[in-house]
């Protein structure tokens, strides 16, 4: 066979082309000796390549969920919220944005929400010894411009710096992975003379505990954890109170009484949020149901969008979320023009036509007085759980969809919750199975809130096992 005939001895030569190419599907091409050789080679290659491809693909996919499910707390561990509006266009300071409602809830004293681990413990002397500036450092899991979790922490750090001027020198380390490196980062910061270290990601907790034991003269402040030491404090806040208020806005916005809710993981913090949101919804819309779906990650915008779209297609007419830091849910809501209640970020600017409101944290409410205590030589370790009353948690700017009447109702409830944090969980409260979880007139204790593992009546869904 000469080369010319070889090249032309081709299945396509007879132009069976057409669409679809059934010819190629069902007719084996004529094979020359040389082609048989090549076929053998390719036969070896294909399965090998495919197996490797698959293996790598599966590993790459499994990784995401695996690593993030470790972080049991931090709702917005979630890091990069990339679509959130730029700071220049969006007011992130709720206190300023919702002045009227802030006025209704006079700022309480943060110290009422702080309890030392040990009454009468001696203060830790981590202030500056040579009369210089106090050096304080923040350790972040994400980049400071992630538009979400880490960014709100860094904005608080800047407020601290602004407040204290040259009395305090602040610094930060961003993009610190949750793992071995944390300890090294802490050691470096201490070697640089920092005597107050803030940790902002749940996965840093063990490294912080170890460092606290190793450096008794350094003060450690940790957000979203629970472990304690003589020089390790924990701070977080009652987002469930503002989740309840957000739910009220959502309930008032729903016409058909079917709402959809995206939740990250079935941990108590998120479960509290779902329950409070649902109670808020039903306060405004007593027969409403909330369809909860678990997206099993803190941050996975494409999947969140897909899930939100599926909820809309299933008939929900308002969307909410907890433990999810991207506005992808808002994108789905915007595409279909249905109201959306966000979380941990004011998206009123970019999603104005669908935005309701959402929970926001104000870390500086706690950080500034605590650093003042360090300067005064009065810092003791303990647990802080802020609330609306002291301004640690607040609501984002209301969207245009929230009517004046609804705002007034929410603001009144906000004042009530400011005076009585956790008041939205007042019995009788039944779970999804109809079993009474809280007797009439009773309120959950702090410990019960921290360990909440049931879903309230009105939720359509269940807490995933494990």
């Amino acid at each position: 066979m000469n080369s010319w005939s070889q090249a032309c001895d081709w299945p396509g030569r007879t132009e069976f082309g057409g669409w679809p190419h059934t010819y190629y599907l069902f007719n084996a091409p004529a094979i020359s000796g040389e082609e048989i050789l090549n076929k053998r080679l390719s036969k070896k290659w294909l399965p090998l390549a495919a197996t490797i491809a698959l293996g790598v693909g599966l590993v790459a996919c499994g990784d995401d969920n695996g690593s993030s499910s470790e972080d049991t707390t931090a709702a917005a561990e979630a890091t990069a919220d990339t679509t959130a509006p730029a700071d220049t266009t969006a007011p992130t300071d709720t206190a300023a944005a919702t002045e009227s409602s802030e006025a209704a809830a006079p700022a309480g004293d943060w110290s009422a929400n702080f309890k030392p681990w040990e009454e009468g413990a001696a203060p830790v002397a981590c202030g500056p010894k040579d009369g210089g500036a106090l050096k304080a450092a923040w350790v972040y899991v994400g980049p400071i411009n992630d538009g979400g979790w880490t960014q709100t922490h860094d904005e608080a750090r800047q407020k601290v710096q602004e407040h204290f001027g040259d009395k305090i020198e602040t610094t930060y380390k961003e993009n610190v992975p949750e793992g071995e490196q944390v300890s090294q980062v802490i050691e470096d910061l201490i070697a640089d003379g920092n005597t107050v270290i803030f940790g902002t990601s749940f996965g840093f907790q063990d490294a912080f505990l170890a460092a606290a034991e190793k450096h008794p003269d350094v003060c450690f402040e940790f957000a979203t954890g629970y472990k304690s030491a003589g020089n390790l404090s924990q701070f977080y806040g009652a987002a469930e109170d503002t989740d309840y208020l957000t739910g009220m806005a959502a309930g008032a916005a729903s016409k058909n009484g079917k709402l959809g809710y995206l939740a990250s993981f079935g941990i108590p913090e998120v479960v509290r949020g779902i329950n409070a949101w649902t109670l808020g919804v039903r306060a405004m819309n007593p027969d409403a149901t909330v369809k909860v779906v678990w997206v099993n990650s803190w941050f996975d915008p494409p999947n969140e969008r897909k899930q939100a779209e599926a909820l809309i297609a299933a008939g929900v007419d308002v969307l909410g979320m907890k433990g999810i830091d991207s506005p992808a849910t808002g994108d789905a809501a915007k595409a279909k023009g249905i109201p959306w209640a966000g979380y941990n970020r004011d998206n009123s600017a970019n999603y104005g036509d669908v935005w309701l409101t959402g929970t926001q944290y104000h870390w500086d409410v706690y950080e500034i007085p605590r650093l003042q205590q360090v300067l005064d030589g009065a810092w003791v370790a303990g647990n802080y759980y802020g609330n609306i009353g002291d301004g640690f948690v607040g609501l984002s700017t209301y969207g245009d969809l929230v009517s004046a009447e609804t705002r007034a109702t929410i603001d009144a409830k906000k004042a009530e919750l400011a005076a009585n944090p956790g008041g939205e969980f007042t019995g009788p409260i039944k779970d999804t199975a109809g079993k009474e979880q809280l007797a009439a007139g009773k309120q959950h204790t702090y410990e019960e809130l921290m360990g909440m593992q049931y879903l309230v009546e009105g939720v359509d869904g269940e807490i995933p096992a494990g």
């Binding site: 010319w4 070889q6 090249a7 081709w10 396509g12 030569r13 057409g18 669409w19 679809p20 190419h21 190629y24 599907l25 069902f26 091409p29 094979i31 040389e34 082609e35 090549n38 390719s42 036969k43 290659w45 294909l46 390549a49 495919a50 490797i52 491809a53 698959l54 790598v56 693909g57 599966l58 790459a60 996919c61 995401d64 990069a80 990339t82 679509t83 959130a84 509006p85 730029a86 992630d146 538009g147 369809k291 779906v293 099993n296 996975d300 915008p301 494409p302 969140e304 969008r305 897909k306 899930q307 779209e309 599926a310 909820l311 297609a313 299933a314 008939g315 991207s326 992808a328 970019n350």
Partner: protein, 319 residues
């Protein structure tokens, strides 16, 4: 009617199948020229991050910005593919290893994330998004509305591309010569076809289409860049090339099947079907395994006609 579960799944199949199709169509071109490209995932991610960057930094009307972003994403994918072609065609490296290296180099913890960091793609919101259209105002028509008239411009482009690619591969002389290069480069060379040129061009074309598929994630699905956001779509695309028997039309159908499998979990979860989400999320990959096992049988190999020289570097003097 249009919120019927089957319509929703069919619509999702088309929407989420579109980026898979782009990447797989690129794979069809590349493999038809005899080059195995396992770097698709990396090329998609590079396309995704450069597309997101361009949508932030190219000025002008939304239409212009998004068109430019798509072109830049495709160009970036082509550049990475050129590197793959250089390794495989010029240096005659092992194509499996070269492709895997490209994915690791450019992929989720590599170049794409590095670019995202240094360009601060995450810093500003990507406000320009490729939105779904309401073609002829027919989006709300029962059944055909969501399926045919409520997609992004890229989905319509993919339909055109599918037809053009079929015509190109099977009805043009260049297409015939391309297939010759993939089946028997020696004979093609003897006929005066420039094997190296054909392989370079079609590998780069494949990379450009992978880049386009990646940009679909960061411009159309969500207006956001997330590290590793394609989450294995590139690997599914490689399986799709085989699943589609190296033919554009069948690849399109395969892409929609995988698109449906990918969204089945979310759709059923929203309707309280009692099926563990993890099982459903694993379906596309289970399907990938099944497909690859089936097509690697002796029978299938004889029948489906993979390009005979696929994965074999061409040595001109070696006979």
């Amino acid at each position: 009617m249009n919120s019927n579960i089957f319509i929703v799944i069919a619509w999702s199949a088309i929407f989420y199948g579109t980026p898979l199709f782009f990447a797989a169509l690129g794979g069809v071109f590349t493999e038809r020229s005899g080059v195995l490209n396992l770097g698709v995932e990396g090329m998609m991610l590079i396309g995704g991050v450069t597309g997101a960057w361009a949508s932030l930094h190219v000025g002008g009307s939304a239409w212009f910005t998004l068109s430019a972003a798509i072109c830049i994403a495709m160009a970036a994918g082509a550049v990475v593919a050129a590197l793959h072609a250089f390794l495989c065609v010029t240096l005659k490296a092992n194509q499996t290893v070269a492709g895997l290296s490209i994915t690791i180099f450019a992929g989720a913890v590599g170049l794409s994330s590095y670019f995202a960091n240094i360009w601060k793609v995450a810093e500003d919101p990507v406000t320009r998004q490729i939105r779904r259209l309401d073609v002829f105002g027919l989006a709300d028509t029962p059944i055909v509305g969501p399926l045919l008239f409520n997609h992004t411009i890229l989905t319509y482009l993919s339909w055109v591309m599918c037809a053009v690619a079929s015509w190109y591969l099977f009805r043009t002389k260049i297409g015939l010569q391309l297939r010759a290069v993939g089946e028997s480069p020696q004979t093609a060379d003897a006929m005066g076809i420039n094997v190296v040129k054909y392989r370079y061009i079609h590998t780069m074309l494949g990379g450009a289409l992978a880049g386009l598929g990646g940009a679909f994630y960061s411009l159309a699905i969500v207006p956001t860049w997330v590290d590793g956001m394609t989450k294995g779509a590139g690997w599914i695309a490689i399986a799709l090339v085989i699943f589609g028997f190296w033919r554009p039309g069948l690849t399109l159908l395969g892409a929609y099947l995988f698109g449906a499998l990918q969204s089945l979990g979310t759709v059923l979860k929203s309707r309280s079907f009692d099926i563990p989400g993890d099982v459903l999320d694993a379906l596309p990959f289970v399907m990938t395994i099944v497909v690859l096992v089936l097509v690697s049988t002796r029978f299938a190999h004889k029948r489906i006609g993979a390009p005979a020289a696929l994965g074999v570097p061409y040595e001109r003097e070696e006979r």
